[in-house]
């Protein structure tokens, strides 16, 4: 099948929500290389992390805005008037009690209402790309999981993502704007500041601390650079579509830990423990392979080495800073 990537990125005004995050910062760079005019929307202008240089040198515009703040979104409206394309990455994963009602309310405020407030301002859109999550499947009815698998989220994080998908679909249909939904599997690689398994394992391994390994389950980890490839291809295609983005390769969690220990030459001991509610997840990537024309390139070994190096540098930097402060 020939894939027509017809949407020209050059000179397009692209808005990225969550642009300071891991995927967002790499994507910003990539879109700039493709001559897009990038505006990043983020909730904290004092913590621009990797995109600080681009903002300081005025290569991109940064707009500080909390998506749960309706008045603020209205106030920045003039800055959003001519946006051609929305890349909606913004999300919050870290909740102290993920399945409590306050977390449920928060996902509705940020994922659903935040998205609607944003759509109210973006009146010239030619396309939308939303990064959803495989969390919408909950415990999947089957693996490898394709896009037709029933969506039965078991966390409010997953239901928030699914809700955003539904509202974006409604908007896309009603206004005739192409919508791409990418359901991302576990993203890892450098700049991974999440509180998920891989960065936790790596930090412990670097400190030679014991690593708790819960019941052995299969996961599909995809390196951030492969995710960026997928997003770029989807933007260029700019058609209605839903894709699982993973590698299709199952990584047992014990293998990931063993590899981390091997690469870091760590003395960490692996502690096996039981945790209920564990399940396996692996993407069926046939649809994204054929329709987006992408193929994940980074092996788990190479990807882990990349993330480990980054964490090492981060630790190094913070010790240097501590040293300077002293």
């Amino acid at each position: 099948m020939r894939i027509l990537l017809t949407f020209k990125i050059a000179k397009k005004k692209i808005l990225i929500t969550g642009g300071t995050g891991q995927v967002g910062s790499f994507l910003t760079q990539k879109l700039l290389e493709n001559n897009a005019e990038v505006t990043v929307l983020g909730h904290n202008g004092n913590n621009l992390k990797e995109i600080k240089g681009l903002v300081d040198t005025k290569k991109i515009k940064f707009v500080e805005c909390d998506l749960t703040n309706e008045n603020r979104i209205k106030a920045i409206s003039p800055l959003l008037q001519n946006i051609d394309f929305l890349v909606h990455l913004s999300s919050k994963f870290r909740f102290s009690e993920p399945n409590s009602l306050p977390s449920a309310h928060h996902t509705i405020e940020l994922d659903v209402k935040g998205t609607i407030f944003l759509l109210q301002q973006l009146k010239q859109l030619q396309g939308i790309l939303f990064t959803s999550s495989i969390a919408v499947y909950g415990k999947p009815s089957y693996i490898p999981t394709d896009e037709l698998c029933p969506t039965r989220p078991i966390s409010f994080y997953g239901s928030g993502k699914l809700a955003t998908e539904k509202y974006l679909k409604l908007h896309s249909k009603n206004k005739d704007i192409p919508l791409t939904i990418l359901r991302l599997s576990g993203v890892y690689g450098q700049r991974n500041r999440s509180e998920q398994a891989i960065p936790i394992f790596i930090r412990k391994a670097l400190r030679n601390e014991p690593i708790n390994l819960y019941e052995n389950s299969l996961r599909d980890y995809i390196h951030v650079s492969d995710v960026i490839e997928a997003i770029m291809s989807a933007i260029k295609l700019n058609q209605n579509g839903l894709f699982n983005i993973g590698t299709g390769i199952e990584s047992p969690s014990h293998l990931v830990v063993e590899k981390i220990i091997e690469i870091t030459k760590s003395q960490s001991e692996i502690l096996h423990s039981e945790k209920s509610g564990q399940y396996d997840f692996v993407c069926d990537i046939s649809k994204s392979t054929t329709e987006l024309g992408i193929k994940p390139k980074i092996s788990i070994e190479k990807g882990l080495a990349d993330e480990i190096l980054w964490h090492k540098n981060q630790i190094q930097k913070s010790t240097n800073n501590d040293f300077k402060r002293e």
């Binding site: 309310h105 509705i108 659903v112 209402k113 759509l119 039965r152 539904k166 409604l170 908007h171």
Partner: protein
């Protein structure tokens, strides 16, 4: 003497379905607390007039809701629109956040009945539409209901609450209900001697649900509280042309419809699960339901 604590709460109690349900429950001596943004019976002591989107309002009534173990959640903002930038936020506030607010103030729930809609499915891929049909709603209302269902399912699972979801077909038998629905519009036009307008060729079928059958389903649930997701639809699936000929006949008129070009589709929900698991059976045939609707209209 202290009154026996009431354990059944009905939201949307002043609404179209709520009012009729309340009357039926009183007849059957089933006590309940009503909750609604408007209060049609100020003499009723077991009634909370509050807006479910207003968190502070809840706190004043908190202790009175502590004993509630069964919730029938009818309260909802109905909206046939498709522009999320227009009415989306209000719909989210009432249908999703309002539901979460309720849950937050009902700490001892054991059973929930949530009334959802056939509109969660979007355009049918095949008929009849079973409960596992994909959900691609094309209205603001349908989308808010899909999302509320998902949040309720997660919460119920987390708390060990039995959750029942009714996906109602379009309900008729209430002239004020859903002003945009075909049946009341046909009746109003034919009664005033005007030609009814049909979008499409008039052959589209729907298993319209008569209000008494919609209430029956709730009464059946109060008895057995069977959890699960159930389509609740009517006994017959007439075409729009059928509806017009029946209405003409019962009103002794002979008005020919005017056709307007529009893409229309059948929408018949598969109610076999409700029949076998919930033991619900719609009793009202379309002819009977329509003549009773017309009677109400003429009153």
């Amino acid at each position: 003497m202290k009154a026996i604590p009431l354990k059944l709460l009905i939201t949307g109690a002043s609404g179209n379905i709520g009012t009729i349900l309340g009357t039926r429950l009183q007849k059957n001596n089933i006590p309940f607390i009503g909750l609604d943004i408007t209060n049609q019976d100020p003499t009723n002591n077991n009634f909370f007039q509050l807006d479910i989107t207003d968190k502070n309002n809840f706190y004043r009534n908190k202790s009175d809701l502590n004993d509630v173990d069964t919730l029938i959640h009818l309260a909802s903002k109905i909206d046939a629109g498709a522009d999320v930038t227009n009415t989306g936020i209000e719909s989210v506030n009432v249908n999703i956040k309002g539901t979460l607010n309720l849950l937050e103030h009902l700490p001892n729930l054991k059973n929930i009945l949530f009334t959802s809609t056939y509109m969660v499915y979007g355009i049918p891929q095949q008929n009849p539409v079973a409960e596992n049909h994909i959900q691609e709603p094309h209205t603001v209302y349908g989308t808010s209901k899909v999302v509320a269902e998902k949040y309720l399912q997660i919460y119920a699972q987390e708390k060990g609450i039995d959750l029942t979801i009714f996906r109602y077909m379009g309900i008729y038998g209430l002239m004020s209900h859903y002003a945009s629905q075909a049946i009341p519009i046909f009746i109003k036009l034919i009664a005033s001697g005007k030609s009814p307008i049909i979008y499409g060729n008039g052959l589209q079928r729907r298993n319209h649900l008569f209000i008494d059958d919609a209430i029956d389903a709730i009464l059946v649930w109060i008895n057995n509280k069977n959890p699960g997701v159930f389509n609740i639809g009517g006994a017959d699936s007439p075409t729009n042309l059928d509806l017009i000929s029946i209405i003409n006949e019962s009103m002794d008129k002979r008005l020919k419809p005017v056709f307007k070009k529009s893409e229309q589709y059948d929408f018949i929900t598969d109610i076999s699960k409700a029949v076998s698991v919930l033991h619900f059976q719609p009793k009202t045939r379309i002819k009977d339901g329509l003549s009773r609707t017309i009677e109400k209209f003429l009153e």
